[in-house]
């Protein structure tokens, strides 16, 4: 009986909407890791990541379902955590480094109209050394996909596409030749 109720609730969530999902941690990529090592990018610390507005950091919605950041975090914090994971996997994370990577989340969006879905994520990234700003640049990633009228397909797919953008944005920054050059110039 209990399983039956759970199943019905899940069915309602998937097909009609009305559920909340938490964003999931992303895996580091070998491409970024190799580039960071080969380019001898110096280790850096992760500073603050903040949302440009309260709405941007809070949640995104598809139909009647929402996706939110992990507990006690906003989406900007989650972006910072994704940078931390990617740099940590490459052995380039050092909380004592004078080089500090920070960001402001300026765009966080996902939408779909039954036929087509789109999502985008944007951030202003700053690299500073001993509180002096050495590099500042805006980054943006977006994705499009074919959506579906069935909520059970459309909702998880939209959230997956949105979630993936964090990995794409982090990789775009860490693989940007301008960012690498600035880090090397500013690094120890």
């Amino acid at each position: 009986m209990r399983n039956g109720i759970s199943a019905l609730v899940l069915f309602a969530c998937l097909s009609l909407g009305g559920c909340a999902a938490q964003i999931d941690e992303l895996s580091p990529s070998i491409e970024t890791l190799q580039l960071l090592r080969q380019s001898e990018t110096p280790s850096m610390a992760i500073g603050s990541f903040t949302p440009a507005s309260r709405d941007i950091g809070r949640q995104v919605a598809i139909r009647a379902s929402t996706m939110h950041a992990p507990k006690d975090q906003n989406f900007a914090d989650f972006l910072g955590a994704t940078f931390r994971a990617e740099l940590g996997a490459a052995g380039k994370l050092d909380s004592a480094s004078p080089l500090r990577l920070e960001g402001i989340l300026v765009e966080s969006r996902v939408s779909e109209d039954i036929a087509r879905g789109e999502a985008s994520l944007g951030a202003r990234i700053t690299l500073s050394r001993s509180a002096k700003v050495m590099f500042k640049k805006a980054y943006r990633v977006e994705t499009h996909w074919k959506s579906d009228f069935i909520g059970a397909i459309a909702i998880p797919e939209a959230f997956r596409q949105y979630n993936s953008l964090y990995a794409l944005l982090v990789r775009q920054v860490l693989m940007d030749p301008e960012f690498i050059a600035a880090a090397k110039q500013a690094g120890p």
Binding site: L14, L26, L33, I150, A152, P156, E157, N163, S164
Partner: protein
Amino acid sequence: MTRRHIKLHVALLARFAALVLAWISVEGAAEAAKWYVDNTLGEVKAEEKKVPAQLRPIQLLFEFQRDGTPNPKATKVVKPWAIEDIKQTGAFSEISETPSTDGAILSIKFNNIVKQEELDKAKHDGFRAGLSFGLAGGVVATDHYVVTFTYIAPNGAPPITSVVNHALHMKFGTKAVEIPGTEAKNGDEAVKTVVRQALARGVNNIVTDPAFSK
């Protein structure tokens, strides 16, 4: 069938499983579906298996993808299985997610490919089967997996890569069709078998590569 199991199916086989789940009772669909592990890849035979003379630690990067983009929900579910499966191969002395002591890395991208024409057919068949609770016709859906292994040696040698293909078939309804797979007890077991076979094959391909022992 617990909610965790149903969510697992949705996470791993989102498109096809969700189609069936959308048309009929979730619990009924998940239990009525039959799962088959494709026979083409199979197990690594004892005579094929190679264990390196000197075991080294590796840093593991594992990502489950759909059509080449990250599927973090599925990664979360599958990664612990993958770590255990790689341990079972006996090819490495230690597996960690942080940089290894000598810098060796094994990256695995487990990519679930969705073929649009198959998805459209599954939708059509799933609708018909769902309305009749599986009594009229049925749906056979195949999830294709392309698993890419990249090994980076500590000595800075060029990466060693291997690509392994695998597939998982799901059948729902009364459709009489021969499926080129071995039936699994349930969805969980089917997915675990696909992961284990693909990883065992890929790791064996990597350690068998002549460049690996250099």
